[in-house]
Amino acid sequence: MRHVAVVGYGLSKFGERWEAGLKELVSEASVAAINNSGVEPKQIQCLFTGSMSSGRFANQEHLGALVADQLGMTPIPSVRVEAACASGGVAVRQAYLSLASGAYDLALVVGVEKMTDVHIGQATTTLGTAGDYEWEVFHGATFPALYAMMAKRHMHDFGTKEEQMAMVSVKNHSNGSKNKFAQFQNQITVDAVLNSSVVASPLKLLDCSPITDGAAAIVLASENLARKITDAPVWIAGSAQASDTLALHDRDSLTSLKATRVAAENACKQANVKLSEIKVAEVHDCFSIAEILAMEDLGFFNKGYGGKAVEEGETQLNSKVSINTSGGLKACGHPVGATGVKQIVELAMQLRNEAGARQVSNVDVGLAHNVGGSGATAVVHILRR
């Protein structure tokens, strides 16, 4: 396997982008990434697009072709990757594998979701299809409800408090306030979270990541080419993916995601990195409880201690491990297929010392953790400068 590096990155503005459709969003992020890399568009040999459900959200499938077309890159091969909320991270991994294998030397990965063209009930059903439609959604389970049941069980088993979950959202809004691409750049308080409307008890509106339009893109290059393109390549040192049962109820535990544990272990092994070396991480906080589960399952904190660690401030900017410096899914926004790519963009910014007011000091290694569904897919990347 050859070494592969991120040599350019770009984002669209995240938010309710009523003026922009899929085509505008992928173009905005891709042009930014290509310009950032300095490569000529015609040098790019293949395209990977992560999108969860463009068909249900925007009545458009065949995104591989759409992206090649809109970027003026036909006839190069272009493929769309789907793994629910992990579509972006898995698209990054597929591009990584294509370059590492020697098949290609330069690839563009774009993640995108256009979510605000449907009503909230339709969006809720569509997001639910990341779980088991027949045996979860059909019976009335929503995505917030699945994570709410994990939260309820975590509270029951470990004494985790709603206030501690609220502190995840408060921290991520604080980080998001330093990110001009974030959907929400306002600070919030624990009381604001606790007093927001209940979506699925115990999760309130401000425990939940929002509905977002947005796209993120990266340019990946094989080692020899990467060194020619830039003197600041960000290496993909580890890339691992794992699967689990589609339905939450089929798992032994509601308080731990096995796919996250397996992917993290394998990615760290490949990168030859100890978790204690990782000072910056983008984790999948689709709900506040999900960040607490991720902190524990990735191995940053002992099982059951995640809530306490948030309360102690151990995941704030420049603390033990700076988690979700971008604002995370909660504040930066969660255009589902874009999220996994955006996490890599954020780490590349951090590792290149280009993150401005939210820059973590002295970082050499970063971790990105992207989850599909209630944990049926997890993908972990380790990046190193």
Binding site: F138, H139, G140
Partner: protein, 136 residues
């Protein structure tokens, strides 16, 4: 989302009578039904297995923002239930308030309307309620 008739029809046995599957080799039971045992290596086939309908609550949540096809009945309590025979499933808890539900509470399956779509197609199936005498 409107579900065409065969989607509901082909699962009637499972939804009406809580029929899942049992491995022909290791006797593990599954609900929802699986064609292939998750535990046996090499993979083994499964046969129909009827669950008693008794179980207990593993976790639960009051859903205020439902999928579109459940909007008429919201808010409702959704739960993960561990059946007495071993498998777990997701279903609504009815005939009680959220504050009466607790982790570990014994429940029993009952037959109820699950959804009615805009074409008038009604889907029936299982929900659960607190076990009346409190014991399985």
């Amino acid at each position: 989302m409107e579900n065409i008739t065969p989607f509901t029809w082909r699962r009637l046995k499972n939804r009406y009578n809580l029929v899942g599957k049992k491995c022909t080799n290791c006797s593990s039971v599954f609900f929802s039904p699986r064609m292939i045992c998750s535990y046996c290596n090499p993979p083994m086939e499964t046969t129909d297995f009827k669950f008693s309908g008794n179980g207990e609550v593993v976790s639960y949540s009051l859903v205020n923002v439902p999928p579109e096809e459940h909007s008429a009945l919201a808010p409702y309590v959704i739960a993960i239930i561990k059946l007495k025979e071993g498998a777990k499933l997701t279903a609504q808890i009815v005939d009680c308030n959220e504050k009466d539900v607790r982790i570990g509470m014994p429940v029993e399956a009952i037959f109820r309307k699950i959804t009615e779509d805009s074409t008038g197609l009604i889907s029936y199936g299982f929900k659960f309620r607190p076990l009346l005498n409190g014991k399985n």
